[in-house]
Amino acid sequence: MLAKLKAVTFEVLETMYYLFPETLEEGEVVPARGPFLRSWVTIAGPQSLRIGLQVPQSLARKMAANFLGTDEAGISKPEMEDILKETTNMMAGAFLSKMEASGAFKLQTPEAQWLTDAEKSKKSPANRLRFDVDDELMELFVEKG
């Protein structure tokens, strides 16, 4: 499942942002400083799932500027939230479209939350993949919804 999610994540990032993530191996580190923005979408069904992304504010700002074609300095927090929610929504939609027997599942509205360094450490999902995106950390996670 993570492999399929990784594939759709790469597709969304490359198509919409022209960003090319690289998978981080165990032990590889990309420095990241909070606050962090986490966004997720619940795929509701017989076995509900929650899939999402978590990025530092600096990457959220970069993605929003890239997405909207504007200067990073002019990007607001709500715009960053909107962009990351839209990204997770696209990922979840693409993921669901590729799943077999997906008829019983339904996408919920995407959500977003800001986390401090401490909150991020406490709430870090176990089932996740880490990527290096333009020298910034991006985490893709999946958990029971």
Binding site: M16, Y18, D82, E86, N89, G93, S102, G103, L107
Partner: protein, 139 residues
């Protein structure tokens, strides 16, 4: 020929993106209108001529399906092509809209050349091979 375009999406960010992609694609936009839901879209149509509508599915107040139903009941608006902009391509999501009379759908994420090809196809214009190759650009 320039076409008047109406984009309906509750996300201002997504509306801005679609507009940007349309401009990059080279699609000939005449007037550009946007609404945050179906109700706003109907208000815009009362006042303006629109050639094509790009609509989201899930929106507060009036969703995409209700918007299409309203359009189809209206003498002036029933022939305006509607293209869904959606995150999903599953038949169970798309088919009900096609049955309502939606012309086509574009799945996010999308590229400028995809959106131009769809729209020009729907509006009855041929795309020259040169144009579709040269306009594969960054955004």
């Amino acid at each position: 020929m320039a076409y008047n375009v109406l984009i309906v999406d509750d996300s201002a960010t997504m509306r801005a993106l679609i507009r940007k992609v349309l401009v990059i694609s080279g699609f000939d936009i005449g007037e550009y209108f946007e609404g945050a839901n179906g109700r706003e879209a109907l208000g815009i149509l009362e006042q303006n001529w629109v050639d094509i509508i790009l609509s989201d599915v899930h929106m507060p107040e009036m969703d995409g399906a209700t918007l299409v139903k309203n359009l189809k009941q209206h003498e002036m608006w029933r022939h305006i092509p509607v293209v869904l902009i959606t995150t999903e391509s599953r038949p169970e999501v798309i088919n009900p809209f096609l049955n309502l009379g939606v012309h086509d759908y574009i799945q996010k994420p999308f590229r400028p050349e995809t959106i131009k090809k769809k729209l020009t196809g729907i509006l009855g214009e041929a795309i020259t091979p040169d144009a579709s190759e040269t306009e594969s650009c960054d955004f």
